[in-house]
């Protein structure tokens, strides 16, 4: 089985984002970028499946600017076998990403696609489900356990009330949640080796997909700021403030 892992280059999760003064977006100039954390979990899960003999090849794919090659090299250094960059400087919305990924799936015929549940920049939480819809495949979203069971996939999902386990026909789509695994760091020798692994660069047009956005961003603003609070000296003062000042007790 081949596993396809879509990875997105996003602003690093530790960076405090700043909204641009002209309200057109957030400031990405000179900001640290990394692989979306949920996608690191996806790459790790694919590698573990390969190590367990359940997969033969792992293909990482990214849609984004030229610099997304770095993100793909990270995936290769972790243990992916080869990579595809669909290069574009445009914003590509989840539906168009899903259409491009479907084209890659049609060409590569993987048995499993593992995505992150959510990109931490747009916070959309859509792409995996959309890809599943376009392919007519089942989906195991927000996964915390993924087990191959014969010709099925058993996925335990983090849901609002607790956990749910579903059984999916293969091929299938999985999206990762935080507890699925702890991603490894790439070792220096593996980072060196990754430089020699195959990385194909394509364009959206190669797949005949229209990536024109459906959403127009009218403005991007800072959320209202909370007024600063105070420090209380004791539990008694806290209770007094909550009762008599805030009126919440």
């Amino acid at each position: 089985m081949k596993i396809l892992v879509p990875v997105k280059r996003v602003i690093d999760y530790n960076v405090k984002v700043r909204v641009k003064a002209d309200k057109t977006g957030v400031d990405l100039a000179n900001v640290k970028m990394s692989m979306n954390p949920f996608d690191e979990i996806a790459v790790e899960e694919a590698i573990r499946k390969k190590e367990a003999g359940e997969a033969e090849e792992i293909i990482a794919v990214s849609i984004g600017p030229q610099q997304a090659q770095e993100t793909l090299r990270t995936a290769l250094a972790m243990g992916a076998d080869r990579a595809i960059l669909i290069q574009t400087d445009d914003t590509v919305e989840p539906l168009a990403v899903a259409k491009l990924l479907k084209a890659v799936v049609d060409a590569e015929q993987p048995g499993l696609v593992i995505l992150g549940k959510q990109a931490i920049d747009d916070d959309s939480n859509q792409t995996g489900q959309m890809l599943a819809a376009l392919l007519g495949w089942p989906q195991g979203t927000f996964a915390s356990i993924v087990k191959v069971a014969g010709d099925k996939l058993e996925v335990t999902r983090e849901i609002d009330g607790g956990l749910e386990t579903v059984s999916l026909n293969l091929p299938a789509i999985v999206t990762t949640d935080l507890r699925l695994n702890e991603p490894r760091y790439a070792s220096l020798p593996n980072i060196m080796k990754a430089k020699k692994k195959q990385l194909d660069v394509k364009a959206p047009a190669d797949y005949g997909v229209d990536t024109a956005p459906r959403l127009k961003t009218l403005k991007v603003e800072e959320p209202p700021k909370r007024a600063g609070g105070i420090k209380v000296k004791s539990v008694e003062e806290l209770v007094d403030k909550l009762k008599n000042e805030a009126g919440v007790l």
Partner: protein
């Protein structure tokens, strides 16, 4: 102009998140219909029919919908979509699982986690863990969206008398099946509906220590929340996680104990009316959003707080 709201329920009870979604759908300006897809869920449909502002309830009562598998529910929603200009679901794990599948089948984009509706085609949604708010305009003929409960007040659960129309199933593609559920049982209020939340973080140190949080919560009639670190460490189950990638809450009072205040946690609770932080590190970022900060060891402060109430 009519909007279809996907009801959140467990076949027995209609979940409060549905009420917030109805308010959002009503803001789109047309009739609001509610779809109840389940098995043996007449009581849910009856409850939905009583929501103020709901004009009709579509009831798809079928064994196939006993569990809300996206592969089964999405085709049903798509089969009904022709009559609607908008399809709305609460941003629950069900909404998040099902709606993008609906959107892709309809070839429209989805607007995720809407917090305000400016016009029937213009929506405000948080991005970058809520550190920015984007106002977006959708060019799609049909709008598909999930809406954040804290962005819209709950519609009154009574006062309406909508007709209930049975709708036929759309079949089961048979590519997935439900195996089991392990649901956390608790008499405490649901996190996203609670007026007061007491949350614990890595500072709790262990699962056993969470009992002081639970005890305080019970005294206050509060729900129990947690940071990712507390869940990852196994102190408490995943359904308690508050944050960017967990639950978004906005209670009257949020008490954070042993939580540092990472942006991903703040994303889930910074719209609470009053925030209290108990942390032994006076530099902890949580104090920047707290209305009342107490620099103290939580193992002393939390039991003392319970006693002082």
């Amino acid at each position: 102009m009519a909007a279809l709201v996907l009801a959140e329920h467990d076949n027995k009870e209609l979940k409060p998140a549905t009420l917030n979604a109805v308010t959002a759908a009503a803001k789109l300006g047309g009739d609001v219909h509610v779809l109840v897809a389940g098995s043996g869920c007449q009581a849910v449909a009856d409850a939905a029919a009583k929501i103020e502002g709901v004009a009709a309830v579509l009831l798809a009562d079928d064994e196939a919908y006993a569990h809300p598998l996206a592969e089964v529910i999405a085709p049903l929603v798509v089969s009904l979509a022709g009559d609607y200009d908008a399809i709305v679901a609460p941003t629950t794990t069900n909404g998040k699982n099902i709606m993008p599948r609906v959107a892709a089948q309809l070839d429209v984009c989805q607007v995720s986690d809407v917090i305000a509706i400016e016009a029937p085609d213009t929506f405000v949604r948080p991005i970058y863990a809520g550190n920015a708010l984007a106002t977006v305009q959708s060019a799609d003929a049909k709008k598909v969206m999930t809406v954040r409960g804290t962005g819209f007040p709950a519609a009154p659960a009574s006062g309406g008398s909508a007709e209930i129309r049975p709708v036929g199933g759309a079949g089961n593609p048979g590519i997935s099946s439900f195996v089991r559920q392990e649901l956390a049982k608790s008499d405490r209020p649901e996190l996203t509906a609670a007026k007061i939340i007491v949350s614990g973080g890595r500072g709790m140190g262990s699962g056993e220590a969470f009992s002081i949080i639970e005890s305080l919560a019970d005294k206050l009639g509060a729900a129990v929340g947690a940071s990712r670190a507390a869940v990852d460490a196994g102190f408490i189950s995943n359904d308690h996680q508050v944050g960017q990638t967990g639950k978004i809450v906005a209670p009257e009072l949020y008490i954070a104990c042993g939580i540092s205040g990472a942006i991903q946690h703040l994303a889930g609770m910074k719209d609470s009316k009053v925030i209290v932080a108990i942390n032994k590190d006076e530099e902890a970022p949580i104090f920047q959003v707290a209305d009342y900060g107490l620099v103290a060891d939580l193992f002393e402060a939390v039991p003392a707080l319970e006693k002082a109430l």
